[in-house]
């Protein structure tokens, strides 16, 4: 399938210089000389490497059709993250590089959408939020009254996040895995 570069969106899969790439970022740019451009950040699904590339905004781009299927996260090793399709029990591997930035917030059993090209897993979508138990954080220093003060806390997955001073070890917090930001305290 073909589209024009100006219509590319974050998350799209395209063929770029012979390989499948996922669009990580797009930014329209009109330099005031020549036609408008679409600045993109592309991640090669084989290597996990990212490149910056500016397309002419009306340039043809070949897109790759993918299905997103909800799967359960199982575990990871040095190269891949492993997911299981709960309907078929099929297991697939996604290169670690495709989950860069949010892999540290994932725990076994989390449900995520895996992008499949036929039966090959290309990438995985970061969940909107994750709920993680805080395993360690220092108690707040008394007298520190800055309203939006934050302190570091360690989650059950080993990630470090910045949380408000009132959060205590043992509590469950909600995190935005794409930014690593604390969203709120969880009822559980």
């Amino acid at each position: 399938m073909k589209t024009y570069a100006g219509g590319l969106k974050k998350g799209d899969f395209i063929i770029h210089q012979g390989s499948i790439n996922q669009v990580i970022k797009t930014e329209f740019y009109s330099p005031g000389k020549g036609s408008a451009l679409m600045h993109t950040k592309l991640k090669n699904v084989q290597t996990g490497k990212t490149v910056d590339y500016a397309f002419k905004s009306n340039e043809d781009v070949e897109t790759v059709e993918v299905n997103s299927i909800e799967m359960q996260y199982m575990y990871k090793d040095a190269e891949s993250l492993y997911f299981m399709n709960a309907q078929t029990y099929d297991q697939v591997a996604v290169p670690v590089g495709m989950a860069e930035g949010f892999v540290q917030y994932l725990k076994e059993g989390d449900k995520l959408y895996v992008f499949m090209q036929e039966d090959k897993a290309l990438s995985v979508r970061a969940p909107l939020t994750v709920r993680l138990k805080i395993t360690h954080t220092e108690d707040a220093v008394k007298g520190d009254t800055v309203s939006n003060a934050r302190k570091p806390a360690t989650t059950e997955t080993g990630a470090t996040v910045m949380v408000p001073l009132f959060v205590k070890a043992g509590e469950v917090v909600t995190i935005n895995p794409e930014t690593g930001e604390y969203v709120g305290r969880s009822a559980e």
């Binding site: 210089q17 930014e27 740019y29 000389k33 036609s35 043809d60």
Partner: protein, 344 residues
């Protein structure tokens, strides 16, 4: 619409910078000119889309356009002999989605220096940047003209001056011979693996020299500019990008420069074209391109040519993106970080 009170510190830096711009220009005898932004006619520019609005009074209807640039007004005043002058205010560009470095409604500083060529105006701009640096620098900074933007250090004591031909040779391995010959250039770009032909229902279209040049510029040149320890002054653009700039004596380039810090384009300067016949010819071409591309058919400002016939004084002019400059001096990643109101 949301407020962004968390940006107040960055916003204050931006304000200090704006005040320093006004102070510098006032002290150097540039007249501040307040201008309307709704105009009945515009200079045709093929690569810009405009915002159109309408005045209504009973049966009366009149089209107005939001000014994409104050140029057509400031140049009228220059012909009248107003001398060094500037506009600091809003400008508008349609069909340009918002990004970290751009918004369709933005603040522009456009200034003209009479009797100066483009490289002399560059000296004035550098001096102004130094004044902005002093007005906004963080306390306790030891070194005089050193500044950092997102981890990239630069020294405002001088420009790194680079011609477009030198930059293409250095960063894109394209020689001057290839750069100034459209056919050779397109062949080299194809060899690099760029798409040079587009196919649609009406057949094959070869991309123009301008389109491909801009793509190479964006992919291979721009990111390097203003990253080697000084702000970069990139000058002498191919004549195809002359727009309202004077041609140089070499016949292949125009008296135009752009300035960069840390890969961010901050301003665009012309040695102003005063030859009204050449100007007329370029505007007719731009108008034809506009019509062919299906852009809003605004009223062309042919009166601009009549004004130029009276003689534009020798001058150079520069347009600077003020929010971008604010982003640099506040050391934030996006122009959105210096705003107090966001329109989602």
């Amino acid at each position: 619409m949301r407020t962004l009170p968390q940006n107040i510190t960055h916003y204050r830096t931006y304000l200090r910078m704006m005040q320093a711009i006004e102070t510098y220009l006032h002290n150097n005898n540039f007249l501040k000119v307040d201008l309307p932004v709704m105009l009945p006619a515009l200079i045709p520019e093929s690569y810009l889309e405009v915002f159109e609005t309408e005045y209504r009074y009973f049966d009366t209807r009149r089209s107005f356009y939001l000014a994409p640039s104050p140029e057509l007004l400031l140049k009228r005043l220059l012909v009248d002999g107003v001398g060094n002058c500037y506009y600091l205010g809003k400008a508008f560009r349609n069909s340009e989605p918002e990004s970290s470095k751009h918004r369709g409604e933005f603040t522009m500083l456009e200034m003209y220096k009479v009797g100066a060529d483009y490289l002399q105006l560059a000296d004035t701009v550098l001096e102004m940047l130094q004044a902005l640096h002093v007005a906004t620098r963080p306390k306790h900074t030891s070194s005089q003209m050193m500044r950092t933007y997102q981890g990239i250090s630069f020294d405002l004591s001088k420009w790194e001056k680079l011609t477009v031909a030198e930059a293409f040779k250095r960063y894109a391995q394209i020689s001057a011979e290839e750069l100034f010959d459209e056919e050779q250039f397109i062949a080299s770009v194809r060899k690099k693996g760029y798409q040079t032909v587009r196919t649609d229902s009406s057949g094959e279209h070869t991309y123009s020299y301008e389109d491909l040049w801009s793509q190479i510029y964006a992919n291979e040149i721009e990111k390097n500019l203003g990253t080697a320890g000084h702000p970069t002054l990139l000058y002498d653009y191919p004549i195809q990008f002359a727009s309202l700039a004077k041609p140089n004596a070499d016949g292949t380039t125009a008296a135009r420069f752009e300035m960069y810090i840390a890969g961010v384009e901050l301003g665009n300067c012309y040695g102003e074209l005063s030859d009204w016949k050449l100007q007329h010819h370029r505007l007719v071409k731009e108008q034809q391109k506009r019509e062919a591309s299906g852009k809003i058919a605004h009223v062309p400002d042919w009166g601009f040519i009549d004004v130029l016939k009276r003689g534009l004084p020798d001058c150079a002019g520069i347009a600077i993106g003020v929010e971008r400059l604010g982003m640099i001096f506040a050391d934030v990643a996006s122009i959105a970080d210096i705003r107090l109101i966001e329109i989602d």
